[in-house]
């Protein structure tokens, strides 16, 4: 690692290159793509949560002038296969309902017409006869043997089920002085990026090749899965993601079925087809995080030491299950015990289906679900022991000298100083002062509460984790998976300018900017002069199966690949320069764009002459050396290994730390919540660009706040989604976000070239439970139990009322 002091650009508040197109309306999003022969698609969707499709009559719609063709479920069944999915028995999940609908909003047919207006007119003319079936909406009921079954080929609504033991939980539970348990309900909430899903597909019947523009979050595994579903060679399906994606946060991994659907619509109609999801479609039927029911119990010593956890977590992936699920249940395996030294774990995992919308990762990918139970339970333990919730966390933290720390479940925590970061947060809010304030307030009948969450934020997914959905025996039979690789290519042109080719297709994280900063430091040049092209094009980009922007990969494995590629290029420059100066490379110094021999500044050659030689005078290069100047690196994190026979896996490859300390006051009459103070302290290793980091942190805090108080995909008991507009699905506006003090601690990661790691998801994992803990703390004297979200004033008011009734 280069000496941090030597860095001119990394760690600086360098302004974003991306802004210069986005600020003037020159960004390139999928909806901005105009192609010849381009027609527009609209999708007819099921109004029923569970029903047989008896008949679809499209005759009237076909007659409508401007309609170019209609694709129904039957077409889809004939033209494609179900998507593969990493569970023992995958449901028959096509890009469109075939003979049965399983959630409100499920695609039933696609109309292609000259305009979206006409396409929607045609939807009105399509007659679909449904035969409604009984619905199942509750997670636990769905797992019951007598529940209505969604998929006959599975025979139950259980998509995935595993029992896992780590350490000796039974023994630990015997040794415990105290057992504390709770039931925790995490709601179905999501990302709702302001840009919805978008696909433009064209099919060439002669070379049988698809070209598909889309805003998927990478090639990732789904490029292969869609090719398999379409039954075509992978290289006959070219995906292009333009430079800009209007936010993703995990949800845009759910675009892939629509990529297949619109591709088929193009194939059937012979048109280039554009489909832009509208907001109602997005809220009904795109993808959400999973709702989860967790039963969790802690085995505790009287001194506050948490010996073991026993939990049963039930996730709900809705009407079907699709990649990257069942990741929801297994993605956080390595960090299941959070920031604590908990060596024993008894874990039951179940993924079920109900008649709800399907799922995808949502910023933090089920760590918010995990920590909602872990961090609530830690508070409950503290309460039972009469311990301060801050104290019990210090008691159980992993110690700074224990890193790299291997968790009971196989996670390898690279670095951290949890005590330091947490203490910083407590100092920022002046924790002792607020405990006193709380005492005073309680005597006046006011509800002040302090909420804490201290969590470990995993970044860089190891694709191997998903195979823990299979038993070790099942895994042994199949092909192992592992890795988290990313790719970067750097080149220097004949006049000595640097261009970087990336394929991380960010959704606003500023990779072009940070790439420029890093390369500038590595090569000692000015970042302004560096250009970066960062689009996905599966035909002309070099990438790996794990390439993309998800699980905060860029700052860890992305920077590793970039630094590696840049150093390869630098090494080649040194070799050429040395060859031209007839010295050995280690005699050379690179300074101010010149190579010169140590202690002989006059014996030098400018970098651009070296570059020029590589391109213009190719035979002057050292014998056997490739001509030109470029270098690529495709590397994975070394710890990205398959699960062992005990189901231990380093499910992510770097682990940051994040803590929230939040002071709230609840209006005793209206139950509205006011934030008095909020500290959010983060350790994501080396800070690459503090300005961008602050933006990422504020974004994830706000997204977490949405889950805590405002956002939910709500359904009635009959399976109707009640929140299909932005009037009812409530994203926080600027007015809902209080002032927040953000702090940072930098513990460089030994596993990454610059010591940096992911940062943009952490608070989305910690804020929901921290706010819940604050509200629980405020209402503790009333004995109110807080175990669900979002905590609306109406809900809190009823909880208080019930608690008071009990007390009376």
């Amino acid at each position: 690692m280069p000496d941090p002091e030597a860095r001119r650009w990394v760690g600086k508040r360098y302004k974003r290159k991306e802004d210069l197109r986005l600020l003037i309306g020159e960004g390139k999003f999928v909806d901005d793509i105009q192609l010849p022969k381009m027609k527009h698609a609209a999708i007819i969707r099921s109004p029923y949560p569970h029903a047989l499709i008896k008949n679809i009559d499209t005759t009237q719609a076909e007659k409508l002038p401007g309609v170019r063709g209609i694709l129904t479920g039957q077409d889809v069944k004939e033209m494609s296969k179900p998507f593969p999915c990493g569970v023992p028995i995958p449901p028959k999940y096509y890009s469109c309902a075939v003979d049965k609908v399983r959630y409100v909003g499920e695609p039933v047919a696609v109309v292609v017409a000259d305009s979206r207006y006409i396409a929607e007119d045609a939807l009105d003319l399509i007659q679909v006869d449904y035969e409604p079936l009984p619905v199942v909406m509750d997670i636990e009921e769905a797992a019951e043997p007598d529940a209505p079954v969604l998929h006959d080929n599975i025979g139950s609504n259980i998509y995935s089920h595993r029992l896992m033991q780590y350490g000796e939980p039974a023994k630990a539970f015997e040794e415990a002085d105290l057992l504390v348990k709770g039931k925790f309900l995490f709601p179905k909430y999501g990302s709702t990026p302001i840009e919805t899903y978008a696909v433009v597909a064209s099919y060439n019947p002669v070379n049988q090749e698809f070209v598909i523009y889309n805003n998927y979050q990478g090639p990732f595994v789904n490029h292969s899965l869609v090719a398999l579903a379409l039954g075509i060679p992978e290289n006959k399906m070219r995906w292009i993601v333009p430079t800009d994606i209007g936010g993703g946060f995990g949800t845009k991994t759910g675009v892939f079925p629509y990529i297949a659907l619109i591709a088929l619509a193009s194939k059937k109609t012979g048109m280039t087809v554009k489909w832009i999801e509208d907001r109602r479609e997005h809220l009904l039927a795109s993808a959400t995080g999973t709702d989860r029911v967790t039963y969790m119990e802690a085995a505790v010593k009287r001194d506050g030491t948490i010996l073991a956890l026993k939990d049963k977590a039930m996730d709900n992936t809705g009407g079907y299950i699709r990649a990257p699920e069942p990741g929801c249940a297994y993605r956080s395996t390595g960090n299941h015990t959070g920031a604590y030294q908990i060596r024993h774990l008894d874990r039951e995992v179940m993924v079920v289906g109900t008649n709800k919308c399907l799922t995808s990762p949502n910023r933090g990918y089920t760590c918010q679900e995990l920590y909602f139970s872990v961090e609530r339970l830690v508070d409950m333990v503290a309460a039972q022991l009469g311990m301060d919730p801050a104290e019990i966390r210090f008691k159980n933290f992993i110690q700074p000298d224990q890193f790299p720390y291997t968790t009971a479940t196989g996670g390898i925590y690279d670095a951290g100083n949890y005590q330091k970061a947490f203490q910083k947060a407590l100092d920022i809010v002046d924790y002792p002062k607020w405990r006193q304030e709380q005492e005073k307030a309680r005597q006046q009948g006011r509800y002040i509460g302090i909420g804490i969450a201290t969590i470990v934020d995993p970044s860089v997914t190891n694709i191997a984790y998903v195979t823990t959905a299979l038993t070790p025996e099942q895994r042994a039979k199949g092909h192992p998976k592992s890795g988290s690789g990313e790719s970067m290519t750097i080149k220097m042109d004949p006049l000595g300018q640097v261009h970087v080719i990336a394929c991380t297709n960010p959704q606003g994280q500023g990779h072009e900017t940070v790439i420029s900063q890093i390369v500038a430091d590595e090569l000692g040049i000015d970042p302004d002069g560096i250009t970066v092209s960062n689009v996905v094009d599966t035909h002309d980009r070099v990438y790996t199966i794990t390439t993309g922007s998800y699980s905060s990969r860029f700052a860890s494995v992305g920077t590793n690949a970039l630094v590696n590629a840049t150093r390869k290029l630098k090494d080649k420059l040194f070799k050429i320069a040395a060859h031209l100066l007839e010295v050995s490379p280690d005699e050379l110094v690179l300074e101010n764009q010149k190579f010169h021999v140590k202690d002989q500044p006059e014996k030098s050659i400018a970098v651009r002459h070296v570059a020029g030689t590589a391109h213009w005078h190719q035979t002057a290069l050292p014998e056997g050396m490739d001509v030109g100047l470029f270098a690529s690196s495709l590397i994975t994190m070394p710890t990205s290994k398959p699960p062992d026979e005990l189901d231990r896996v380093d499910s992510s490859n770097t682990y940051g730390f994040c803590c929230e300390v939040i002071v709230v006051e609840i209006d005793p009459e209206t139950c509205e919540i006011k934030f008095h103070k909020w500290a959010s302290v983060h350790d994501s290793g080396t800070v690459l660009n503090p300005m961008i980091l602050e933006g990422q942190v504020m974004g994830s805090i706000t997204h977490g706040l949405g889950g805590a108080l405002y956002e939910e995909f709500a359904y009635d008991e009959n399976g109707q989604c009640l929140t299909a507009s932005f009037q009812d699905y409530l994203c926080p506006t600027s007015m809902e976000v209080p002032d927040i003090d953000i702090g940072h601690v930098e513990t460089p990661s030994p596993f990454t070239a610059l010591g940096s790691k992911g940062a943009g998801e952490a608070s989305c994992e910690s804020v929901p439970v921290a706010v819940a803990n604050a509200i629980a703390d405020a209402l503790a004297p009333l004995g109110v139990v807080i175990n669900e979200l979002p905590l609306t004033p109406s809900k809190i008011w009823h909880l208080i009322k019930e608690a008071k009734a009990k007390q009376a």
């Binding site: 109004p47 009635d716 109707q720 989604c721 299909a724 507009s725």
Partner: protein, 151 residues
């Protein structure tokens, strides 16, 4: 969504029973009912035009007067659908008379689905109640009109 209510009619239980089982008066009272066709004993097809604010829609539906126990109770089973969505419901209609006054109580479960359920949840239950009120008010008028009422 659960719906229940109670209305007092100025008529004997038999008179009110006749009213509540008479398709003509039901058609008159049903908000926006354009036509009502008997398709079998106690079974009807209906065409309704309902407009609230700009939300106008034509709904085709059927309803049934099930297991009648004259003149005490019957079950009203109905469903209708139109471009804004669909409605399904089952309601118990109970009549209890004392001299020339009759209390009609209804208690039922109504499902609303489709477009309106997803984007209009804020007002659905209120509007459902409103339309029931309109229905019972009109039924009272019908009772008067039929001239059979005591008052």
């Amino acid at each position: 969504m659960q719906l229940k209510g109670k209305y007092e009619f100025n008529g004997t239980q038999q008179q009110v029973w006749d009213l509540f089982t008479n398709p003509e008066s039901l058609a008159q009272a049903m908000p926006g009912c354009q036509e009502l066709r008997e398709t079998g004993p106690g079974k009807y097809d209906a065409l309704m035009k309902i407009g609230i604010a700009a939300v106008k829609g034509t709904y085709t539906g059927k309803f049934e007067i099930a297991d009648p126990d004259p003149p005490n109770r019957y079950q009203l089973i109905g469903e209708g659908s139109g471009s804004p969505g669909f409605v399904k419901g089952t309601t118990d209609i109970q009549l209890t008379g004392s001299n020339d006054k009759t209390i009609v109580t209804y208690q039922g479960e109504v499902q609303v689905g489709g477009l309106i359920a997803g984007v209009g949840q804020r007002m659905i239950s209120g509007i459902a109640k409103m339309m029931l009120n309109q229905f019972f008010k009109k039924m009272k008028k019908e009772l008067k009109a039929s001239g059979s009422a005591g008052s």
